[in-house]
Symmetry: C2
Subunit: 358 residues, 2 copies
DNA sequence: CTGAAAGCGCTTACAG
DNA sequence: CTGAAAGCGCTTACAG
């Protein structure tokens, strides 16, 4: 910067003003300074700027695992918004390190982030304190707690769930199962609740044995589905708490020789890119990653870097996207297994789409 | 920090020394200072540290797209190494922004990264200059150019390719096709070359019409595969330049009523997590993401933040992982289409694993 | 072993 | 409109 000042024959203060677009500089000198900056290919040292101004232009984002498509897609959307506003993003994956959360918080605070987006399920009091006491406002994910420096982005799962149940009912399904997320997590509870509510809205009975828990992964979907298909009277359709769970369910369906969509209906949740590529393409309750990212960003930004700024509840909508994994129930819903497992060949050639690993 | 100094009744210099584990502090005062830091939950302001020391403890990583599993898995591995060494990572996705590369470089330089890992294909002279002139050493991906402040991590694709060809030959394949990456990119050229070399190593003929280009995506694999299957004498096996290409190829194979592994053999490249989950699970040339990340990190670290430090060529190995997408050729390799497309039922029930979208 | 002081590269009142 | 100067929160020779 000194070099620029020297070459343009001004003080460093003026150089700084030009960079920040201050109106207190004559156009002629400003032009001269800009010229020199261009020639020298000068780029400001952001760490000095941050130190002096106290503004880091960094938001922290904590997620469980970047290799989960849901989070990768979220990060993609979030980064694109941040870059546009000339903000940086500090990414922390809690699953990669034993002391995940604690370490991540430390990293964020140490780097002076202006706010933290917490897309993890278990947000402890301790975590909140660590953030808030260090003057870092935070936005949580479907935790439904707000306060000073604390906002929350909730998923309004009811509309999508309602549409899904309506869709299945219209197709003729009566025994609709549900595979939830990890029990005890607020986000799972809300989703479960929406399902129950949607059943009620459409006067459909709730069969307790048709409600299972998963783990938001393929594995959980598989084992829950296995249980469901082993029931004396299995369901004819299932709604899963997320797409990976639905994919697991779909694999089990295929492995047993049924064809998803034709013999058994499956609805996912999230609409990750993969959902549209699967075969059959997954009918799913879409949760726009772009809207979600926008929501988090706006929530973060509206704190204006201050923890004493009131937080608020944000919400993002969901809606059903009908693809090929849903269809009319094959039979009345009873005797499904015996009717199909006899090897009459209708689905005998169907191949499992995914194997048992993972 | 002043507060700590005051509470512990020492100077800020001593506090700093304690934080940095200097041996010039008596154990008693050090203990006292640590105590106070613990109570206060003090965390140092990294931006000040960076400014003063001139060490940012950040490495920049530029990739095309985080939602591509290959890169997500790379980032996962790289982050985990970086965190262990108490370094941060600044991630830039070039595909998300029109002026991708230029903007990304700017972000890295501005944030004073200590080095940049460039996992993108087209690295222009301009890009290198922008980095090097700003004192940022760089490590490129299979570009095979080294110099001061410039290292390269190459994929040694030959061993894996050789094993793949050997595997296919042993199964009885003679007409082996290849679907490459984007033509003109160094990384694609090296991979192509390894394939040709492997054929020669095993005295297998090269049929020019069996060598096609793709785009490292599902789409490219699909169209290349369609072309191959429409040939008067189609191949009996194909090796793809990456797993996504192989997945595209597999979809086309399934769509035409063949079963991958049984009627047609497919080999991928990379071994993304998805490969093991597909059905049939993909036989592929594995490129360890952990090794790759380790290599990039070490290469970066060995510059010691100086562009005048000589770079060198790094290399990461590949090896074949045999799963279910390869098997004996169904017939002699001729008349494949007519023999199977007649609807004899052998593969009639096979379902495409992925649909046409994307 | 410990502290006072200079300085990292910026920004921003404060004078002129 | 422009510049001199203080200061952001640290680190590190330099004295003691």
């Amino acid at each position: 910067m000194e070099e620029i000042a020297r070459l343009a024959d001004v003080s460093i203060a003026t150089v700084s003003r030009v960079m920040n677009g201050s109106s207190l500089v004559s156009e002629s000198t400003a032009a001269r300074v800009r010229q020199v900056m261009k020639e020298t290919r000068y780029l400001p040292n952001n760490t000095a700027t941050s130190l002096k101004s106290g503004i880091s232009r960094i938001y922290g984002v904590i997620i469980p695992d970047i290799t989960n498509p849901f989070f990768a897609e979220f990060i993609k959307a979030f980064e694109s918004i941040a870059i546009e506003k000339n903000e940086e993003i500090l990414l922390a994956n809690t699953d990669f390190h034993p002391s995940g959360m604690e370490l991540s918080i430390r990293r964020l605070v140490t780097r002076q982030v202006q706010g933290a987006a917490l897309l993890v399920s278990q947000v402890s009091e301790e975590t909140c304190d660590a953030l808030l006491k260090n003057n870092v406002p935070m936005v949580t994910f479907d935790r439904r707690v707000t306060g000073p420096g604390t906002s929350d982005v909730a998923i309004d799962s009811l509309p999508g769930m309602d549409q899904a149940v309506a869709h299945l009912k219209e197709l003729g399904h009566k025994r609709i199962a549900y595979i939830g997320g990890i029990a005890g997590e607020p986000i799972s509870d809300h989703r479960d609740h929406s399902f129950l509510r949607a059943l009620k809205n459409h006067d459909l009975p709730l069969w307790p044995e048709l409600v299972r828990v998963g783990d938001y992964r393929i594995r959980g979907g598989e084992s829950a589905m296995s249980g469901l298909l082993s029931l004396p009277t299995p369901p004819t359709a299932v709604i899963a708490a997320n797409d990976l769970t639905a994919i697991g369910a779909m694999r089990v369906v295929h492995e047993r020789g049924y064809a998803a969509g034709r013999d058994f209906s499956i609805v996912g949740f999230d609409d990750i890119e993969l959902s549209g590529i699967l075969s059959p393409a997954l009918t799913t309750i879409a949760l726009s990653r772009v809207q979600l990212a926008r929501c988090f960003f706006d929530a973060l930004e509206s704190f204006k870097r201050r923890v004493d700024c009131a937080g608020r509840q944000w919400k993002v909508e969901t809606r059903l996207v009908v693809r090929q994994s849903t269809g009319r129930p094959r039979r009345s819903g009873r005797k499904r297994r015996s009717s199909s497992s006899g090897g009459n060949g209708t689905a005998a050639g169907a191949k499992p789409m995914l194997d048992k690993r993972r």
